[in-house]
Symmetry: C2
Subunit: 170 residues, 2 copies
């Protein structure tokens, strides 16, 4: 499904695979991301299917392959975005460990959760920093909304684990 995010990022102009990866790191990273090892083959496939076009150039001595979306590609993207979406599946190792917490000593449980809460706090801090950076740029309102949702999501998680830690302490 990564091809859709690539098409999405091409909707406002042509980009290289690397550029898209960097853009993701500043925007969609925390709720949807892809590796470079996936982006390059995906672009080749999209090109074969006629959904994107590629233009090679050499800038500052480096090979650049700029991809742009075709009318057919736009159609595919707009169709995808208007399609019904199923519930996203989580894959959360931290919760999985809680599931098996019976096999961990009470002290270790508390330590792991305290540790994880710190991780969450750090992550929230990063997202807040990203938010103030993006506020200076003139960014799409919906893209800012997804960032806000990310912050709220991790605050919910932080909250939940804090409450869980309290019950562990009793």
């Amino acid at each position: 499904m990564q091809d859709k995010i690539l098409l999405g990022f091409l909707m406002d102009g042509s980009k290289t695979g690397y550029e898209i990866k960097k853009t993701m790191e500043q925007s969609t990273e925390f709720f949807f991301t892809t590796s470079l090892g996936s982006i390059y083959p995906a672009f080749k496939k999209l090109e074969r299917e006629g959904l994107v076009e590629m233009a090679e150039s050499i800038e500052a001595g480096r090979l650049k392959k700029k991809y742009s979306i075709t009318p057919e590609g736009k159609k595919v993207f707009l169709n995808w975005i208007s399609l019904k979406t199923g519930i996203a599946k989580i894959r959360d190792e931290a919760i999985l460990k809680v599931f098996f917490f019976n096999y961990l000593s009470p002290d270790e449980r508390k330590n792991r959760i305290e540790e994880y809460i710190k991780e969450l706090e750090g992550h929230i801090g990063e997202l807040l920093a990203l938010k103030s950076r993006l506020e200076k740029k003139n960014i799409d309102a919906f893209q800012m909304t997804t960032l806000d949702m990310g912050i709220e999501y991790f605050m919910f998680m932080n909250n939940w684990y804090s409450g869980f830690l309290d019950t562990l302490k009793k």
Copy 2:
């Protein structure tokens, strides 16, 4: 990383791959799951590594391969569960679509979100039904806790999308 969940499910007795998959569907499914096409090769690998042992039998005419965890496997599992855990990455198509909502008409936006909220409500209903089913059984407290967290998580999502729908309507 699926091998850890397999080892975890073997900690309280030997099981077949199919049994584990069915157990997951009634427990870890919403925060961590694996396909059968992944379980069988994973067990073969775990067997090669000496972390599980396999016993073949034929029950009611069907071949059964019961796997049990070895002392070495227990060590690996207990080590994994006591290790520091990083923040789980989400991969949420619904949020990705919101990110690109600029390309959708206002009416369509509302429709998609209303639709998705219904999906979430249905999912919450399923989890509540699962909860009351599990309450009749004598289930591990931590395993029940993860189910509660799942319910709260989807209620948070439901809440967030409801608020988002309100702002879309203005």
